[in-house]
Symmetry: C2
Subunit: 223 residues, 2 copies
């Protein structure tokens, strides 16, 4: 039959988790915002119990902070942690080739080519959410090339911890410059995939992670 069954508990939890994580990543829930458990639970049509389970995971991942008697708020990131996370991401990217990489498939290459198209469209028209979505999809592609499960999970975690901070700087940066470099990165990554070279892929990625960190650092050093 395969009728549209009610989703399983795991699926429901996963849906709530990804929804909230995306809202935080896209700054729809900006740092400092208080999250009301009852209200969110009602929105998802569940009780507080499963919603709290999701919030606890997000808390463990550092995206929200739960304080007894006070509330749950979206976290901010201090600049030292921001840089520390970037350093780790760069390290993980540089070693992608040696930490049991996955096989490159045509699906990867096709997805990446689609992203290049999307980046070209973004060059014409500034669109922060569009950039954030592109960024998310690229990260998913990268994780798909990491064969080491712990390295993959770590890479994903670190990305979502800083994605929103990066997004918050985006409006202040030179849009054409950012998109231009993103396009260059995507092309470089595409070339690496063409020769199925995950090692080079990671090194290209690392280069642009450094570049983006440097770009943001200018705005931070004045803190």
């Amino acid at each position: 039959m395969n009728k549209p069954d009610k989703p399983s508990a795991d699926q429901r939890l996963r849906y709530m988790y990804e929804s909230i994580r995306q809202r935080i990543g896209m700054l729809h829930y900006p740092p400092g915002m208080m999250i009301n458990e009852m209200q969110l639970a009602n929105e998802f049509g569940v009780s507080r119990t499963p919603l709290r389970r999701v919030l606890q995971q997000l808390s463990y991942e550092g995206l929200v902070e739960i304080r007894n008697g006070v509330g749950t708020r979206v976290t901010d990131i201090d600049m030292k942690t921001f840089k520390d996370i970037y350093d780790l991401r760069i390290l993980l990217a540089e070693t992608m080739g040696s930490l049991s990489p996955n096989w490159v498939t045509d699906r990867h290459r096709k997805k990446l080519d689609e992203m290049i198209e999307r980046a070209r469209d973004l060059r014409e028209k500034k669109n922060i959410d569009g950039y954030a979505n592109l960024s998310n999809d690229l990260e998913a592609l990268i994780c798909d090339l990491i064969g080491s499960k712990p390295a993959r999970e770590m890479t994903d975690l670190l990305y979502y911890q800083v994605a929103r901070i990066w997004c918050s700087f985006l409006p202040n940066l030179d849009w054409d410059g950012v998109i231009g470099e993103t396009l260059e990165e995507l092309k470089g990554l595409s070339d690496a995939l063409a020769s199925s070279d995950v090692g080079t892929f990671g090194k290209v990625r690392a280069t642009y992670l450094r570049l983006m960190l440097k770009k943001v650092s200018r705005y931070i050093s004045s803190d």
Copy 2:
């Protein structure tokens, strides 16, 4: 006054978390063992709700697996993941010096010297639990030298994911050889601390992580 107040919710959760994690790490809860929520909750004198919160965190960390309608069981680790985790640990150890290290204090040096004494005692008398405790304490010391919060958390996480597997091999390995190499490692680490050189400290650590992986690999390759 500072009377012995009832511990806070966070403290109670932390206590349960660390208790269970230690039991898993020391193989008192071996891989495959089923954990009964109600029974454990009773043991800690709480209801299922806070206990489940702890189990969910352990599940997120990969130490237990929760399956709806079935139960919660201590996970096992396949050999690929085991090696992947070791590769990451080695990578993190090697870069300890460059990822914002903490300052070395006399407290660190003193603790390490105490560990050398404990290792000497273990050489006389084989004691798996004693070795596991020493190993845990060394890992805590190492984490204390990591200034990068994300790197520290990751290092800790990876350690506890493989500690029990390592412990399960310990009875099959040559005790004198293992203790001898552990002593050498501790002395090497102590020398690095003497000159406050976290970079060398990490490189020594990486060397012995490789050695231990190699030692265990012999038993695994036959799988």
